[in-house]
Structures are given as structure tokens and as C-alpha cells.
């Protein structure tokens, strides 16, 4: 039953620096146990980056939960598993193959598995989980659920995780269902006691209490973006369910129910409508924003495709809109539960005709929050759609980040809106008049004044006073003003961030969004190999002069992104007109999150003098 196979390969040894992967079947209730495990390490002050790797399915298909434990704070995914908790016979071979030599396999040994199905260069730890559960519980559901807690208990013993920490977490988790606390703790102990008695504890991999975490918090990007929408003053949300953006609106709804109820009346200071499709969701957002509300939708690539016509209207009629695009692998239905950064072009130039849209690229939940709130100010200020470009990797995984902060003296920037008093005072109102020479005209909300300031909003060409015209001069003047407005946006959107190498270098890398953690890790590793690399993280489109200067001041630039065609590279070439050959396409797009190893391999492929021996 208990088999510890001694191998020739030296067992992996590490403290606070390893990858644990759980292979489960979806719908088996493993997710909460796995989260409990990750959180217990977090509570010991050790940085942890968990990831859900899941199928587009509700029950029965393979799912994985991967946890990178990293004292150094590396939060990107990393290749190879150091400890595999193999609970899914369907994926057994694949799971075993992913274990690094000298790594560990933990599995349910109730049913004998032929020796040929194992590897001889890993440490095998069998524990009869099903047998233990069957002996302890009568009910089938209990057997299933407690099996998950039992393995958490065993892992605590194997990895030296403080059991008190897990007990405290269980008490927090079941605060509202107190009678569940005792049986869960009992199951936890059952696992721990069995491991202590029958298995070699601890393994070469251990968790040690640390202070590396500091003030950091752990939250998923979708929840953080939803909070950003609450703080940014979103009043109307219209949406259509689509993975991986659904949890963003669900989080918004949850936070609003707590934070946005009028105390005197109990009524809602917000409105959320689940629309019939994405066309209707963006239509509602545009209607609400036209009428002076802050409104947003959340969607993913297929939704963006459906919204194209409306996005052109919002651009041309100059109506604010905030869109959270939680990107997933395309084209078409693509891989709905896999991550990519593949909607840059379709968002930046959305709709027919000449258009350009504002994009924001958060790197983590902290920026999902700040950009999520800022997007509403930008949309109102610029009177145009603003896209917050998340992806599944940051949207749906809990990620460590700086705490969320808010400045209470901050006021919403509602942009250029003429009031009844302005109109009454005789101020000239032309809906598309460029009074301030920044390309941004003034608007009025419907219902402002009985006889002044009304105008007709349309997707057709119009003059400065919103009157229909097909005169070429008026059309061109309007289109040129829209470009002037887009240039104004350059100084309003978040500026790029530069991380210079320790030594002067002619090599630079340009990246954005969820590639951030892997890129920083790659920079460190490359520096260790003698390759100095300056980094520029793009945080928004339009690009400002810092981006142009960075490109000008480096001979070779690696544009790192998670799509096939190098969409950011295309945009840089299109907008800034550098020598295209200077920009090296470095793409990773198989749907798995990018790792430092991927980036290093991609960059090294462009360094001929450093080609592999």
C-alpha cells in the first residue's frame, strides 16, 4: 500500500521555491481544498501564485490547479512540476511526464497501479485515500469532499505547513456553517496523522514561515476590476455571459450589493442588466453614457467582434463607454478557457472606417483596480470608448499584488459637459466645436435646458453643430479633430514604465499586461547569463513619446506578447514607424501563460552569437 520507491536521481530539495500541481476531475469539489492549501502557504507569509487550468466544461473533464511557491516573489508560471498530486486517472501519464527528475508524485494508492505506469527518476508517495475515506464516511458525497481535505492534511505534513494555519482558515471559511468546522478539521488531522505515521515527512520540499509577503494582497483581476468600476462611479452595467469575463460582472454585482445600497431607502445606486447579446450590452452602455451615466460592459473576444458596429458609432458620435475585455484564445470560439493577448488590433481599430480607440493594459489586479476606475474618467474626458485589456491569466487567477488604494480627495472627472447655467449664460454650444483646441468638444446631457443645448446624435457625418452634412470639408475637419483628440489622449493615459538593466545595453524588450511577471523574471535570469536587457512596459494605447524614445535608443527590441502575429509589434510599426527589422517578434500563444523560460528562449533565438552549443 505504502510505496516509497528509492531512486538513483537525487530528490529535489527546496525551501519556499517549488511548484505543486493538483490534477483533478472538474466538479469533484477539489477547487476549494486546493485553494485552502494555497492560502495556508500565503498565511505563512510566503508568496504563492496559484493558477486554475480548466476546460470549457462543468463536470467530468480534467482540471489542474498549479501553485508556484516563490520566496523571491516570482509570480509567473514556471515549467515543470516539483510535486504532482495526481488525483485524476484520465491524465495520469501526462501528469507523470510533467514531473521534474527528482520530483515527487503523490497519488491515491487504494487501487494498485502497474509498475510500468510509474517513472523511476521520481519519488513516489502513495496514500490509500479512497480506502481511508470509505472506512471513515458512509455518504458518497462526504467521501468525495473529505478526500480533498484529507490530502491537504497529508500535504501539510509532507511540506511542513503549519496545521494551525489551515485550521484557522477552515474556521474562517465555515464561519456561517459552524457545524462543518469540526468534521473538516477531523479530516485534515486524519490526513496529517496518516502521513506522519506512514510517509517520510517532511519531503525535500518544505514551506518555512517568511516575511516576504509584506502588505501584499491576493485577489483575482476580474474582482479587482469590478471594484475599480465601483470606485470609478460606474452606474450602469450591461453584459452578456462569456468566459472569462463573467466573474467580473458577478463581482461587480456582489460589491454593489454591499457598497451601493442607498441607506435611507434600501434602493440600488446602480443598475445591472443581463442583455440578450453583446450587441445589446454595448448598445445599453452607449445609451446610458449618452444620457450622462457612467456605464460599462465586460466581455471577451467573440463579444468584441459582435460590438464592432456600435464601437464605430461611439467613436464617431463621441460617446463615452468602458469595456473590460478579458481576453481568451481566438480566433472564433478558439480556446475559451485558455489565455491570450490576441484582441489588440480588433480593439485598437474596432469597426469599419478609420477609427482608433484607447486601450489600457493592466499587469496585475492592482492595476485592474486603478485602471478600472481611471477608465471612467478617461472615457468621460475623451468622450470615446476605453478598453481595459485583461486576459484570462490575470482576470481569473488570484494574484498577489500591492494593496488597493484610493485617494478620498479624488473627484470624478465628468469631462466637458455644459450645464443649464452655462447655456443660460449664453455660452456658445456646438456639439462638435473644438473650443479648447484639444480635439475634445463639449456635450450636454438630454433634458438640460428647455430651449438651448439640445442636439441630434448620429452616426452620419455632421458639422460642428451636429447638423447632418456630406460636405467633404466638414467631414475631413471632423476626422482630423478626432485625431487631435487621440493625440490629447497620449498625455492622459497611463505612461509606460521602464526597468533599466544594471548595465548600459542596446537591447530592449517591450511587453504589456500579464506577461509582466515572466518578463521581470526573465530579465533577472538573462542578467545572470550576462545578457543585459532594458524593459519597457506599455500600459496604454495611444503610445506616447517615451515609447518612441525607447525604440530610438535601442538597436534591437524584443516585442514579447501572447498572440501569433505580434499584434503589439504591428501597432508599434503602424503608429510610430520605426525600422520594422529592429522589432523582433517574440510570441507565445499556445494558451498557457507565458513563462520566463519561454521569453528567454524567444529572445535567445534572436541572439545569433549566443546560439545553443
Amino acid at each position: 500500500m505504502l510505496q516509497i520507491v528509492k531512486t538513483e536521481t537525487a530528490a529535489l530539495q527546496a525551501v519556499n521555491d517549488f511548484v505543486v500541481k493538483f490534477a483533478n476531475v472538474n466538479g469533484s469539489g477539489s477547487a476549494s481544498a486546493n485553494q485552502l492549501f494555497a492560502k495556508s502557504i500565503l498565511r505563512m507569509g510566503v508568496p504563492v501564485a496559484p493558477r486554475n487550468i480548466f476546460p470549457s466544461n462543468i463536470q467530468g473533464l480534467p482540471t489542474w490547479y498549479e501553485i508556484r511557491v516563490s520566496e523571491a516573489g516570482h509570480l509567473a508560471a514556471r515549467e515543470g512540476t516539483d510535486l504532482m498530486v495526481a488525483m485524476n486517472p484520465q491524465t495520469w501519464d501526462q501528469d507523470l511526464a510533467s514531473i521534474r527528475p527528482g520530483g515527487y508524485l503523490f497519488y491515491d494508492s487504494t487501487r494498485a497501479i502497474p509498475a510500468s505506469r510509474f517513472r523511476d527518476d521520481i519519488i513516489i508517495i502513495g496514500m490509500p485515500l479512497t480506502e481511508l475515506c470509505n472506512a471513515a464516511y458512509k455518504d458518497a458525497r462526504q467521501r468525495q469532499l473529505f478526500k480533498n481535505i484529507i490530502y491537504v492534511g497529508a500535504l501539510a505534513a509532507l511540506l511542513d505547513i503549519e496545521i494551525d494555519v489551515i485550521e484557522a482558515l477552515l474556521k474562517e471559511q465555515f464561519r456561517a456553517k459552524e457545524k462543518l468546522i469540526a468534521p473538516n478539521i477531523q479530516a485534515l488531522h486524519m490526513g496529517r496523522d496518516y502521513a506522519r505515521e506512514h510517509l517520510n515527512c517532511p519531503l525535500g520540499l518544505t514551506v518555512r514561515r517568511s516575511g516576504a509577503l509584506g502588505e501584499h494582497i491576493s485577489i483575482d483581476g476580474n474582482s479587482a476590476a469590478a471594484l475599480g468600476a465601483v470606485y470609478g462611479g460606474a452606474m450602469v452595467a450591461a453584459w452578456y455571459p462569456i468566459t472569462p469575463s463573467t466573474s467580473l460582472v458577478e463581482a461587480f454585482s456582489k460589491y454593489c450589493a454591499k457598497l451601493r445600497i442607498a441607506p435611507e431607502t434600501g434602493k440600488n445606486n446602480f443598475a445591472i442588466v443581463q442583455a440578450e447579446d453583446e450587441l445589446a450590452s454595448i448598445g445599453m452602455v452607449i445609451g446610458a453614457a449618452w444620457n450622462g451615466a457612467r456605464a460599462f460592459t465586460a466581455t471577451s473576444g467573440p463579444g468584441i467582434s459582435l460590438m464592432q458596429e456600435f464601437l464605430g458609432l461611439a467613436y464617431f458620435a463621441e460617446i463615452p463607454a468602458v469595456l473590460f475585455n478579458v481576453q481568451r484564445a481566438g480566433p472564433s470560439t478558439g480556446m475559451p478557457t485558455r489565455t491570450q493577448q490576441c484582441d489588440l488590433l480588433i480593439c485598437a481599430y474596432a469597426s469599419h472606417g478609420d477609427t482608433k480607440h484607447v486601450l489600457l493594459f493592466p499587469e496585475d489586479p492592482h492595476e485592474c483596480f486603478t485602471f478600472g476606475a481611471q477608465a471612467f474618467d478617461l472615457a468621460d474626458r475623451l468622450q470615446t470608448p476605453v478598453f481595459v485589456m485583461l486576459d484570462l491569466e490575470i482576470g481569473m487567477n488570484e494574484r498577489l499584488c500591492r494593496p488597493l488604494t484610493w485617494d478620498d480627495s479624488k473627484r470624478m472627472d465628468r469631462g466637458k459637459v455644459m450645464t443649464e447655467a452655462d447655456l443660460e449664460a449664453g455660452k456658445l454650444f456646438g456639439r462638435y466645436l473644438d473650443v479648447d483646441h484639444d480635439g475634445i468638444p463639449y456635450r450636454t446631457y438630454p433634458g438640460t435646458h428647455p430651449s438651448k443645448g439640445s442636439f441630434f446624435t448620429r452616426g452620419t457625418s455632421k458639422d460642428e453643430f451636429a447638423r447632418y452634412t456630406e460636405a467633404g470639408t466638414a467631414y475631413v475637419a471632423n476626422m482630423e479633430r478626432l485625431i487631435r483628440k487621440f493625440r490629447t489622449a497620449e498625455d492622459l493615459v497611463p505612461a509606460p514604465q521602464i526597468r533599466s538593466a544594471d548595465n548600459a545595453t542596446t537591447l530592449g524588450a517591450i511587453y504589456f499586461g500579464s506577461s509582466s511577471a515572466a518578463m521581470r523574471e526573465a530579465q533577472e535570469l538573462l542578467a545572470g547569463q550576462g545578457v543585459d536587457l532594458d524593459l519597457l512596459r506599455i500600459r496604454a494605447f495611444p503610445f506616447n513619446d517615451d515609447v518612441r524614445h525607447f525604440i530610438d535608443h535601442h538597436d534591437t527590441l524584443f516585442v514579447v506578447e501572447q498572440n501569433r502575429d505580434g499584434q503589439l509589434r504591428t501597432m508599434l510599426i503602424n503608429e510610430l514607424e520605426p525600422t520594422p527589422a529592429k522589432l523582433k517578434r517574440c510570441v507565445h500563444y499556445d494558451g498557457t501563460p507565458i513563462t520566463a523560460r519561454h521569453i528567454i528562449d524567444l529572445i535567445e533565438a534572436h541572439l545569433p552569437h549566443r546560439s545553443a552549443p
Binding site: L42, R43, I217, A271, L279, G287, A288, N291, E309, G447
Partner: protein, 352 residues
């Protein structure tokens, strides 16, 4: 679609409404539709209805999609904000606008192509969602702006101007509106102002989705022999079930009604709808199922039933269902919207 401002010449003795506005204050630019277009009569009916209801013109928001019908908001209510959105999507834009400010009156104008073809989905969902609006379809059974193709409300067997016969079944928007939960459903004819104006007034004072299908012949492409949407055909087949009078909430009710022949419906805003039943029908506009059956039977017989076909003054609307605050959302400030740093600090603490 040229913009022709109307000369501002006011007749010194133009009648004023209770707010001191004249009819002129409800008019828009000069219409550029074909001379004799049914849509212009509907525009005129909207102007008169708003004037007579004493609605402040700037407190009305008029929205439309794309097509001849959707151009009309330029030709009425020049002091109201208007939104000519994208084809078939007026309902979603109006829904969003309504969510932003529940205090305005929302008038959606659409056509049969805009609502029964490309926008059928949005039409359906706005009805079932209970958006508080007046939704007028100017129904001519034809695509006018693209020169005469059949629309989805063209009757099976109808003949186009070029002689083609429509082989597809017609979509009956009134039947759909009834099924989908509109709490006010009417049908009228652009050539019958006496029927249309009170119907629009009743719809504008109704709380909830009020739908009016207004047959509006296209003089250029669908007014010939063989068309079932021509002036002659509609006049010959019009079956009005009732005659409507709208008595605004502020007016004292002094008239004594003859029992049996008149039904009074009190609307949410206090206005009264006086429905005089026409001779040969015993139509009950409160009975949705009976209305559906009555309409289906008469449709089979090739008759166009008009009048106030269904009303439920008790129905809730979208804001009731959402539990939205009475204050228009677009006027909320940081105080109501932003929970502040102390709440965020507490939240951070739960995320460690």
C-alpha cells in the same frame, strides 16, 4: 437627409398649452421625406400629442434606428435630444438611456425593417424587459431608403411595385408585443389622425413598454394595386375596435359616461383613458389572451384591427424590477457612488 431648419415665424395667436409652449416648440426641421409620406403624418401626430399632454419638450428623449422612419426624429421635437443610432438597435440604446435617467420620457421610433428584420431581437427583449417607453413602428411593409424591397411585415402574397410577389410569412409585431409582455399595445394608421393622436398620448402617459404599430403607406414604393400597405387597402380593411380619449390627470372629470359602451382605464400617472367601444365589437382591451385570439382571427380574414388593443395599467417596469433608486442614476455623486479608502483598507485586510 439634408438639414433644413424651419423658419421661426410664429403666428401671434398660436394656442399655448399649460406650460406656455405653442405647437411650434414641438416641431423639428423640415422633413426631407417624399411628399405625402405617411411618416410625416405620424411626426405631426407626435408633435400634437406632446403639445396636448403639456410635456416639456426638453424632457423627452427621442431615439431611432436606421431607415426612413428613423430619420423622422429630426422632423419633430427640435428642442429634445435625439439619437439616431444603428440599424435595429434603438431598443438597447433607449434601454441604456432609460437606466441612466428614469425621469425623462422616452420615445423610440423605428420601422418595419428596423424592428421586424434586423432588430427583431432587440424589439422582443425591450418588450419583455419592461422598458418604460413609447415604441412606435412606422410600418410600410417595404424598404424605402433602398428602393422598394419587401420587409418582414409585408403580407404573404403582396405585390411589390416591380411586380414581385412576397412568398414569406409576415411578422405581426402587435402579436409579438402582446406575447412578449408589452403592457400597452395599439395599432393605428397614419391616415387616421383622430385615432392616432390619442393613442400616442395614452402611450406617452403609460408606465411600462407601450407599443404602437402604425401602418404608414410608402407613397413611392408601396402604394400601388396589389400592395396590402397602400392607403386604399388599409382604408378598406381597417377594423377599429374602439375610440380613445385621453383625459390628463390634472383635468377634473365631469363627463358622465354611458354605461356599457365606454370603459375607463386609470393609468399610473393618474390620467384616464376613455375607451368608446365601436358598434359591432365587444372588444375587451384588458384581456390579453382574448386580444391575441381576436387579432389572429381577423388577421386570417385579411382585416387590419386598429385601436387600443391591450392595456395593463398595473404592470411594473424595468426600474421596479431592478430596484433602482428614485434619483436618476446619472445625477449620483461620489458620495453615493464611491465607498472610499476606509472601506478599501478593510477589504484589503480580508484579502491576505
Amino acid at each position: 437627409m439634408t438639414f433644413l431648419p424651419k423658419p421661426k415665424l410664429h403666428h401671434p395667436e398660436l394656442a399655448e398649452n399649460a406650460l406656455g409652449y405653442t405647437r411650434r416648440d414641438y416641431e423639428g426641421a423640415i422633413s426631407t421625406l417624399c411628399a405625402g409620406c405617411g411618416h410625416d403624418s405620424i411626426s405631426a401626430a407626435i408633435v400634437r400629442a406632446c403639445f396636448e399632454l403639456d410635456l416639456p419638450p426638453h424632457r423627452i428623449a427621442k431615439l431611432s434606428g436606421i431607415g426612413c422612419s428613423s430619420k423622422t426624429p429630426t422632423y419633430f421635437l427640435g428642442n429634445s435630444h435625439g439619437f439616431n443610432s444603428v440599424h435595429g438597435r434603438m431598443p438597447s440604446v433607449l434601454t441604456g438611456a432609460n437606466l441612466a435617467n428614469r425621469d425623462l420620457v422616452y420615445l423610440g421610433v423605428s420601422g418595419d425593417g428596423d424592428s421586424a428584420s434586423i432588430g427583431l431581437g432587440q424589439f422582443a427583449h425591450a418588450m419583455r424587459r419592461g422598458v418604460n417607453m413609447t415604441y412606435i413602428v412606422m410600418n410600410n411593409g417595404v424598404y424605402g431608403l433602398t428602393k422598394g424591397q419587401f420587409s418582414a411585415t409585408s403580407d404573404k402574397g403582396a405585390k411589390s411595385k416591380s411586380g414581385a410577389i412576397n412568398r414569406d410569412e409576415a411578422i405581426d409585431l402587435v402579436g409579438l408585443a402582446l406575447q412578449l409582455g408589452a403592457s400597452f399595445v395599439g395599432r393605428s394608421f397614419s391616415g387616421d389622425k383622430a385615432q392616432l393622436v390619442p393613442l400616442i398620448k395614452a402611450a406617452l402617459s403609460h408606465k411600462g413598454p407601450a407599443f404602437i404599430d402604425c401602418i404608414s403607406p410608402c407613397v413611392t414604393f408601396n402604394n400601388h394595386q396589389g400592395s396590402t400597405k397602400s392607403f386604399d387597402y388599409v382604408r378598406a380593411h381597417n377594423e377599429a375596435v374602439n375610440f380613445l380619449d385621453v383625459i390628463p390627470a390634472r383635468e377634473e372629470i365631469t363627463v358622465a359616461f354611458e354605461p356599457g359602451s365606454v370603459e375607463i382605464v386609470r393609468q399610473h400617472d393618474g390620467s384616464l383613458l376613455k375607451l368608446r367601444k365601436l358598434d359591432d365589437t365587444d372588444y375587451n382591451p384588458r384581456d390579453r389572451l382574448a386580444a391575441m385570439s381576436f387579432l389572429a382571427k381577423h388577421r386570417e380574414a385579411g382585416e387590419i384591427v386598429t385601436g387600443l388593443l391591450y392595456i395593463n395599467p398595473e404592470e411594473t417596469e424595468l426600474h421596479d424590477q431592478l430596484g433602482t433608486t428614485e434619483t436618476p442614476l446619472n445625477s449620483l455623486t461620489e458620495a453615493e457612488l464611491c465607498p472610499g479608502s476606509a472601506v478599501l483598507a478593510k477589504l484589503n485586510a480580508t484579502l491576505r
